[in-house]
């Protein structure tokens, strides 16, 4: 598939349906289409990490990043998602956009490193659960899995407040991390019933180079 312009990618991603009844415990909010389009466009234009690549999307939800990756030129993308309702929306989105090279496996991301998926992919993308009281540090566990699954690079979003910690951790895992952009976005606004007192959170867009692992 020919590569699309940034604006076109965003337009397509606006058609990706979101979670029907988002589950707060699983931190189900889609990456906003504008942010997703900018991230994916950057991965290709600056690092050539998508075109022709084998891509993985951890915690793929309704498929925003999986579908975006393929629109930007990924040859094949596999998303992993634990929640059956999200998987249903993913499938519908992929069908409606008539994409043959995106697919989803229902699985727990945390169990993937001990499987044959280790080092299977070129590029791993994710918008991980940031981790709330119930699952503190979940984003770091996702990231650690990503580092084990990719051979070239891992792209992820993390709260800016954890930047120093992430820098240290990724070195322990043999990955070289770099913050590509600082974003602000409003997670609460993604939950229809939770409009009061919502405020933007500061998020870093990271690239982790794992090519030495």
């Amino acid at each position: 598939m020919a590569r699309l312009k940034l604006k076109k990618i965003e337009e397509y991603l606006q058609c990706v349906d979101g979670f029907v009844k988002p589950k707060i415990l699983l931190e189900q909010y889609p990456t906003p289409p504008h942010i997703a389009a900018c991230m994916l466009h950057h991965m290709q234009s600056q690092y050539e990490d998508l075109e022709g690549r084998f891509v993985c999307d951890l915690g793929c939800g309704c498929g925003m990043l999986s579908i975006g990756a393929v629109l930007v030129g990924a040859h094949f993308t596999v998303g992993f998602e634990v929640d059956g309702d999200a998987v249903d929306v993913y499938r519908t989105n992929v069908q409606e956009m008539e994409l043959a090279n995106v697919e989803c496996v229902r699985a727990d991301v945390l169990q993937l490193p001990q499987t044959k998926w280790a080092k299977a992919f070129d590029t791993v993308v994710m918008n991980p659960p940031f981790g709330t009281k119930h699952n503190a540090g979940m984003d770091m566990r996702f990231l650690e899995v990503g580092v084990k699954l990719a051979t070239t690079a891992v792209y992820s979003l993390h709260k800016t407040s954890t930047r120093t910690y992430i820098q240290r951790k990724c070195q322990e895992w043999g990955a070289r991390g770099k913050v590509l952009a600082e974003l602000r976005y409003n997670i609460d606004a993604c939950y229809k019933f939770h409009k009061r007192q919502s405020k933007d959170i500061e998020v870093d867009f990271w690239r982790f180079d794992v090519s030495d692992n």
Binding site: F76, A100, N101, V105, R106, T115, K116, K119
Partner: protein, 124 residues
């Protein structure tokens, strides 16, 4: 589920399972979709393929005329075989069926094209 994905799926995470691979594939319903052939992509995938699993998948979809039982040497130089491999791996979409753990018999259903590899807490 494309057969390229089948190549990577295991039941290793089940408590007590040693290898958990290859899973026994049963297909009730499949579809053939056309996708772009990318020789470099298939070539780069070769070292990650388990030929015995690939061949058993070829048996299930009755493509053993196209896919040899043993991986030939210098396969990347054989454009025709690479195209057939592409067809097997990326153009056959399993819509309904199941994957069975070779050691425990635990069944993972494939529904509407999506394999469900989730395990219960007491299985891991």
């Amino acid at each position: 589920m494309k057969l390229s994905t089948y190549n990577f799926l295991t039941s290793m995470a089940i408590k007590g399972v040693k290898v958990g691979y290859p899973l026994k594939l049963t297909i009730n319903k499949k579809e053939v979709v056309e996708t772009e052939f990318n020789a470099t992509f298939v070539e780069r995938l070769l070292p990650k393929l388990d030929w015995s699993a690939i061949y058993s998948a070829a048996q299930v979809v009755e493509l053993t005329d196209d896919i040899p039982a043993v991986q030939p040497e210098n396969i990347a130089e054989n454009e025709q075989l690479m195209q057939k491999l592409h067809h097997l791996l990326f153009e056959i979409d399993v819509l309904d069926g199941q994957l069975e753990c070779p050691e425990t018999g635990r069944v993972f259903p494939i529904t509407d094209g999506i394999p469900n590899m989730l395990l219960n807490e007491d299985e891991v």
